[in-house]
Amino acid sequence: MSDANIARRAIFERLRSAMPAKQVAAPDLHEYYAQEFIEPAVARIERFMTRARAWHAQVVETTVAAWPATVHSILDAKGVKRLLAGRNTELSATLATVVPGDRLCWYDEPLDTFKSTLFEDIDAGITTTRGGIVETGSLILWPSSNEPRTLSLVPPLHIAVLQANQLHDTLYAAMLAQRWSDGLPTNALLVTGPSKTADIQRLLVYGAHGPKQLVIVLVRNEERV
């Protein structure tokens, strides 16, 4: 038997020899959330925006028709020379037509060969989102082969496109509605504002290791992009 198996067996033996604890029923989460976190149905979008902004995210409202122009003006305002995007998303076809080819870069290669471009040449990454959380102003991101994890992580500016009809009251509600436990991606994320730290004398600084800025493009029409 290998050392590893000896350790495993010893640990389980010790755990199983412990005094059997009285079984504790799993608490009723459903009841708790039904009673405690009732977000009023009105002004949910406004509350989401207020909370997202409180975490230093910039929220820009737009419509299905106007979102490409909105993204364009964000790129100009932020001085983005190279925008990185994923292929085959609900954004990609439109992005390809409205953002000039020399300004738009696709995440086509694996990170191993793409590292120097990603770390040195990209000013911003644009991603879709799977929704937002009203309670905390957070975004749900499920990175994929089209939109890898580092797309929303390494560039100093993250632009996230959020459909206003994809808001959930709480993380708990989102997990249930989207049936997360039936199958998670290799990486699922909740993103709330740009990266930050207060490690030096408790002084809050944005732009620690992740994006320095987060811009949420909030598409307010009922239809999806």
Binding site: L15, S17, A26, D199
Partner: protein
């Protein structure tokens, strides 16, 4: 200015505490830091009743998981393996370090980038890897500052809380001489970001801790603000996570309430920047993410706490640090005085199991039993009771009636003079004649009471028997009144 502390030895607690108490600057910075954190937490829990309801949920989730710990660990292992994560088991620090070393050697790695992990501090990973010529680079801003300065964390959430901005300016200018000197905090963080970007880019191995492990889905959940945890677990080819066996919970839906309790209790934030749920290495077709993910599950004394019904609640902890922030002793002596990986009240109740009660015997006494730690604990750990039980275990060689076995170092705080004093007390107080003789003699010879009475007179005036015992005074009055 804070001096680097290297001596991690809980036996030096009393000496360290005295030294720290005399350091007015350090006391001032801890005081204001703790006030800041307690105020921020209070703002997140404005309604005591609402806090209690959420805390009951958190406590229930953790107790439910611990009651089924062996089954949940098996389920977790099966799910993780199905997701392609390699699971390793380590009984102690040496085994855990050997697993790290084996993985590093297999990949020819000379450097690892580390996200924040208290368990990696517990096994002294950086030191052990350095002996094998492998550099571990801390990437949490606070931890990075401490590593440059050769110092240790003094708080589990805000590790460099004992450093001032001026300290950091000095440390950066000493260790990163190519960067311009600055005392602007934005620029200091920008320097840290620049210095660590190349580390993330080039390291073959990323190391992280874990906040929660989900048995149902085989997921590792990481909570952070800086993004270094995401980088360390996304960019390098290999990700090694290490955590204690107690961190498992049953269902994914159990994450939201614990996440809320953790962030609100720790830093007074409703949410952190990132909640990072990792359920496996890069799949076919994916362009990034580690090609290998390893999870090291560490015992290192946790099964001792698990074994004893009296101490099992210790393992409910979600490492928020609220007990430290609210502890009047911690706020005065600071985190480094404890000489353990986990300082403060949680350190005092977990360290005796991780180390042993002999070297940590003074820690359970580092409390006034004011109860603040238990009041704020987001998962309802009865910390003051556990401190009392550890004090008792330290003073008695024989385990308490409800205890299964002796703890490591059981009875280590036992002193012969104390045992004799109590034996004498019992003999005198259980015999009327002896008691009266003693009381008579004590009041007549009260001038013999020594001015120095061991520990008592360190901070109190000496004890001296009364001129006459209460019984004598009473019978005299009764006699006068006839």
């Amino acid at each position: 200015m804070s001096q680097p502390h290297n001596s991690a030895d809980p036996r030096a607690f009393k000496a360290n505490a005295h030294e720290a108490l005399a350091d007015q600057a350090l006391r001032g910075s801890f005081r204001s830091a703790m006030d800041y954190l307690t105020d921020r937490r209070a703002a997140q829990f404005p309604d005591r009743e609402a806090f209690e309801r959420l805390r009951r949920l958190g406590e229930g989730i953790r107790q439910h998981a611990l009651a089924r710990l062996p089954e949940l660990l098996e389920q977790l292992e099966t799910r993780l393996a199905a997701n392609g994560v390699m699971v390793h088991w380590a009984e102690d620090a040496a085994q855990a370090n050997r697993i790290f070393l084996d993985i590093a050697r297999r990949h020819g790695a000379r450097r690892m980038v580390k996200g924040k992990s208290m368990v990696s501090e517990e096994i002294e990973l950086n030191h052990q890897m350095a002996l094998a010529d492998i550099a571990c680079v801390e990437t949490d801003m606070g931890e990075y500052i401490l590593q440059l300065d050769g110092d240790r964390p003094s708080h589990i959430i805000m590790p460099a809380i004992h450093k001032t901005k001026a300290d950091v300016s000095r440390i950066f200018s000493e260790h990163l001489p190519h960067e311009p000197y600055t005392d602007d905090v934005n620029e200091l963080i920008a320097i840290g970001r620049r210095a660590l970007r190349d580390e993330f880019r080039n390291a073959k191995i990323g190391v992280s801790g874990v906040n929660f492990m989900v048995a149902q889905t085989g997921s590792l959940v990481l909570v952070e603000n800086e993004g270094n945890g995401r980088l360390a677990t996304s960019v390098p080819e290999v990700h090694i996570a290490i955590t204690g066996i107690e961190k498992v919970i049953e269902r994914l839906e159990h994450v939201p309430p614990l996440f809320t309790l953790l962030t609100r209790s720790a830093t007074g934030q409703a949410v952190t920047t990132y909640l990072n749920i990792i359920s496996g290495p890069r799949r076919a077709g994916e362009k990034d993410g580690p090609k290998e993910v390893h999870l090291i599950l560490l015992d290192n004394g946790r099964t001792q706490a698990y074994r004893e019904a009296n101490f099992r609640a210790t393992l409910q902890c979600i490492r928020c640090g609220a007990c430290m922030n609210h502890c009047p002793v911690y706020a005065r002596v600071g985190g480094l005085s404890y000489g353990t990986t986990y300082p403060g009240p949680i350190g005092a109740i977990i360290s005796p199991h991780l180390m042993n009660l002999a070297s940590t015997r003074d820690l359970p006494t580092a409390s006034s039993l004011c109860g603040a730690c238990g009041d704020v604990c987001p998962v309802g750990i009865p910390i003051p009771n556990l401190l009392m039980r550890l004090r008792e275990a330290g003073r008695h060689v024989t385990p308490a009636p409800r205890q299964q076995q002796a703890l490591k170092g059981q009875g280590a705080a036992r002193s012969w003079s104390e045992v004799l004093a109590w034996k004498a007390w019992r003999a005198i107080y259980s015999n009327t004649r002896l008691y009266r003789t003693f009381a008579w003699a004590a009041s007549r010879f009260r001038w013999l009471a020594p001015p120095r009475q061991a520990g008592w007179t360190q901070s109190r005036s000496p004890l001296r028997p009364a001129r006459r015992s209460l019984r004598e005074q009473w019978s005299k009055r009764a006699g006068l009144r006839g």
